[in-house]
Structures are given as structure tokens and as C-alpha cells.
């Protein structure tokens, strides 16, 4: 397959080609959709450890004495009150409550935040950040400098300890540290998009391929392997982690999307607060739910959801769950269909309808 003319290569491009990755243009980069197969890669992440090239993600820094005021006005979660070294997942909303993007804020100090944003939204986010900052602090797009490697799976802490040092294996979720790697400063964070232990490494592109190869070499006895975008998607769907553009967008709010826990009404004013508060008090007109299909047929983005003859919502994401071996999905539905155990029908492109049932998220839970 030939390169897409406008798509760029990540610093790990050669590694993907060598590993037999099927490369596709995605968010402006040539990235592997799969290597050995989506289901096999999914199981590798659930049972061993996988490496993901997520270099397409954007990195933006807020810096300055007034930065705290700026960032807390910009996002719904409280990224200021936490200790330096904490990572905070948060939506960033418009004044009308809609989600500009969802992102992770890393608090480096009381005057500096490092932010990881979605690749497809990076330019939109940067423009929004600059506009909303009104010159009150520095906003710097560092995306060109960084590659990003996610290391996820039950064996990830062991592998990370071998490569980055023992201390990284004992860090609790959603913390980060900076470290030296071959003379370059890297950021290691215990964050991820799979529900598995491990972390994500922000690494200057000059040493990204070295780090990838070292992780592959030192993880061979741990079952390490590269994982493509396909399994990244099925892994996050099992956890009901939102994908911007599918489950959330400019027209949906965090309250509708089941992200109430990321909206901190008590921290002072922020974009969208009034709308979110009203939805929180009155109950939103739709809820994002996770469901399982009780029958055959895989739900997909935009399939209609019915109760009898009435359309009550639409599917935002769906797949065959490689872990559970049943079709699962995420959908917006009207009340009262959001409660666990409620059933509705999904229209499979007009072919027929299949029953689905709301489950408590995440539908995938590790056997204890």
C-alpha cells in the first residue's frame, strides 16, 4: 500500500514496516491499523503487554504566573487543586457546553501544565486555547518535538521497570515523572486507553525508535508485541472510554456522555458551567450508555436505536468484543432507557433489528 500524499510518517514508521504493520492514513499520519490481526493484538494487551505508537497525539503547554486561572476556566475538571505530578483527564468545553476535545492535563508546577490532546483536534484545540487564553499566559504547541509510545498490559509494569527503572512500576494510576532517556528528557505517565496497567511515554522523536526497540527487545519473554489502531479501538470500547468524533463532539456535553465525574461545579466558573449545571440538575435529554447485543450482528457508529417503532437514540461506537466474544457498543439513548438492564433494539442497516441491553460500564472486568 502506498503512502497517502499528505500523511506524515512518525519516528516509528520503519519499526511498523519491519513488523508487518498494515499502514493507513489517520489524523494526518501513516499509522498501523493492525499487524498480526486485531483480535490477536487485543488479547496480547489483555494478557501480556503491547506497544502502541500514538505519536499522532498533540502536546501543548500552558506556562506563566496566570496559567492556573486560564486552565481552570478552560476545562471542566479541576486541574489546579491537584499536586504537581498528577495527571487529570478532562473535557474542554465551549460556552454552550459542547465538548471541544477531551484531553489529559499533566500538572508540572503551579505555573505549568503539559496537555495531551487528540490528533485530529490538535489545530482546533491550539487555536481555541490561544483565543481563550487572551494573552494571559504562554501557550506552546510542542507536538512537532514529541513522539508517544503507550505500553499497556498486565506485564507492562515489569517491562517499564526494566527499561525506565524500578520506580515506574510502583506508581499509582494518573501520576507522571520526568526521566532522562539517552540524554533526552522524557515524560512517563501512568495513563492509558485500554484499562490495563502500564503507561504512556512522551519521548523526543530523536530517541523514540531507540526506546521502541529497547521495549521490544527487553519484553520478548513478557510477550510484548506492537498493537495497531484497530485493537486500540476495541480495547477502549470494552472500557467505555470515549472516542472524540464518535461518542463525544461539539454537540454533546460531559453530562450527557456520562462524564459527570470530570465536571467540578465547586471550582469556580468555567466554559459551559451553566449548561452543565442545568443538565446535572434537570437530568440530560440523552445519556451515553454501554450495551451488549443479545443476538447476532455487530452494531456500528450511527446505527439507529429503537424502542418499538420509536427512535430513541443512536449507536456511537460498536464492535465484536474480542474479550467477551459478543457484540458490544456505546449509544446515546433517551431517558428512561439509560438504566442498567433496560433493553432496546438496534437497526442493522435496515436488514433486521437486534435486541441490546444496557450494562454497567465497563462491560469488561478482569477476573479477580
Amino acid at each position: 500500500m502506498s503512502d497517502h500524499p499528505e500523511a506524515r510518517r512518525t519516528a516509528l514508521y520503519e519499526e511498523h514496516v519491519k513488523a508487518g504493520g498494515k499502514l493507513v492514513p489517520f489524523a494526518g499520519f501513516m499509522l498501523p491499523i493492525q499487524y498480526e490481526g486485531i483480535a490477536a493484538e487485543h488479547h496480547r494487551c489483555r494478557t501480556a503487554v503491547g506497544l502502541f505508537d500514538v505519536s499522532h497525539m498533540g502536546e501543548i503547554v500552558f506556562r506563566g504566573p496566570e496559567a492556573a486561572k486560564v486552565v481552570n476556566r478552560l476545562v471542566t475538571n479541576n486541574v489546579v487543586s491537584v499536586k504537581p505530578g498528577r495527571a487529570v483527564y478532562t473535557p474542554c468545553c465551549r460556552p454552550d457546553g459542547g465538548i471541544v476535545d477531551d484531553m489529559i492535563f499533566y500538572k508540572k508546577s503551579d505555573t505549568e501544565w503539559f496537555v495531551c490532546v487528540n490528533a485530529s483536534n490538535k489545530d482546533k484545540d491550539y487555536a481555541w486555547f490561544v483565543e481563550q487564553t487572551r494573552g494571559e499566559c504562554e501557550v506552546v504547541d510542542l507536538s512537532e518535538q514529541y513522539s508517544q509510545i503507550a505500553v499497556q498490559g498486565p506485564n507492562a509494569p515489569e517491562l517499564l521497570a526494566r527499561v525506565l527503572g524500578a520506580e515506574v512500576a510502583t506508581m499509582k494510576p494518573f501520576w507522571f515523572i520526568t526521566k532522562d532517556y539517552r540524554g533526552q528528557e522524557i515524560i512517563f505517565a501512568t495513563t492509558g486507553y485500554t484499562g490495563e496497567p502500564g503507561g504512556e511515554i512522551y519521548v523526543p522523536s530523536a530517541v523514540a525508535a531507540d526506546l521502541w526497540r529497547e521495549l521490544m527487545d527487553k519484553g520478548s519473554d513478557l510477550g510484548v508485541g506492537p498493537i495497531g489502531l484497530g485493537a486500540r479501538d476495541s480495547l477502549r470500547m470494552e472500557m467505555k472510554y470515549c472516542l472524540y468524533g464518535n461518542d463525544i463532539d461539539d454537540t454533546t456535553t460531559p453530562i450527557e456522555a456520562g462524564l459527570q465525574w470530570t465536571v467540578k461545579f465547586d471550582k469556580g466558573d468555567f466554559n459551559g458551567r451553566d449548561v452543565h449545571l442545568k443538565q446535572h440538575e434537570d437530568g440530560p435529554a440523552r445519556h451515553l450508555v454501554q450495551f451488549v447485543v443479545e443476538g447476532k450482528g455487530v452494531p456500528r457508529h450511527n446505527y439507529a436505536v429503537y424502542s418499538g417503532d420509536r427512535k430513541i437514540g443512536h449507536v456511537t461506537s460498536g464492535t465484536m468484543s474480542p474479550s467477551l466474544k459478543i457484540p458490544i457498543g456505546i449509544a446515546y439513548v433517551e431517558p428512561p432507557f439509560q438504566t442498567v438492564g433496560q433493553t432496546f433494539e438496534i437497526d442493522l442497516m435496515g436488514l433486521r433489528r437486534v435486541q441490546a441491553r444496557v450494562v454497567e460500564a465497563p462491560v469488561y472486568r478482569k477476573a479477580k
Binding site: I38, A39, G230, K296, R300, P327, M349, G350, L351
Partner: protein, 131 residues
């Protein structure tokens, strides 16, 4: 990419193989299964269904996408491949033999002439890859 010489093909990547007289097998091509990746569920028309050329008759779900199957010919479904119910991945591993979808009694065998020959299909795939 393998393309059996004696089969006929559609531009939506279904194949037709004449079994005897006016009885044909229908399936999806090697190209189609390769593009779909791991097939996880197959919805075939039922025995006794009348199918009409160009109309959707089933759905194939892979780990990454879902796609409709279109009838390459008009006819009556005589048999549906039970094997796919238990192990849909047969469509990946053997798309032209074990992975057949349905057997159909065709109303008008002249419809077969409207389909691509192996040579036409190979050329068609070549053009697709260039795009």
C-alpha cells in the same frame, strides 16, 4: 491475491461459481476478506429466500467493519453455509471453497454473462489499487 479462473465476479467483490446446470454458489472474494480482516459474524439469507440481483442479501461483520453482501444474480436460496455460523473465520481462510455463503437456483443463467470474468476482475482490482 488469488482469483479462480472459472468463477465470475461483481464490482462489490462477490463471486459466483456454477455448480451444475442452473445451481451456483455465491461468496465473497479473497480481496474482500483481506480488506475486512478477521470476520466475526456472517448473516446469510435463509433457505427459501428469493434474492434479486443487486439487492442486499446479507451482512458480514469483521473486527473492524461491517459490509453488506449484494446478490450477484436473481434466484432462490437452496442452501446456506452452516459452517459460517460456528466459525465465520472460514471466510478468511478459504473464501472460494469452504467459505461459500449460499447456493442458489438461478432464474436466468444469462445474467451470468453480465458478471466479470476472472481476467476482468483482476484488471478491476488493479485499477482499485491505483486509486
Amino acid at each position: 491475491m488469488s482469483i479462480p479462473k472459472e468463477y465470475r465476479f461483481t464490482d462489490t467483490h462477490e463471486w459466483v461459481k456454477v455448480e451444475e446446470d442452473n445451481i451456483v454458489s455465491i461468496g465473497i472474494t479473497d480481496y474482500a476478506q483481506d480488506h475486512l480482516g478477521d470476520i466475526v459474524s456472517v448473516e446469510a439469507p435463509r433457505v427459501g429466500d428469493e434474492i434479486e440481483k443487486g439487492e442486499p442479501i446479507g451482512m458480514i461483520d469483521s473486527q473492524k467493519a461491517s459490509t453488506e453482501v449484494f446478490a450477484p444474480l436473481t434466484g432462490l436460496v437452496l442452501e446456506s453455509n452452516d459452517l459460517l455460523e460456528d466459525d465465520p473465520s472460514v471466510m478468511n481462510s478459504d473464501p472460494y471453497e469452504e467459505g461459500w455463503l449460499v447456493r442458489v437456483e438461478v432464474a436466468d443463467m444469462e445474467q451470468l454473462d453480465e458478471l466479470m470474468t476472472a481476467e476482468d476482475y483482476e484488471e478491476y482490482l488493479g485499477r482499485l489499487e491505483e486509486e
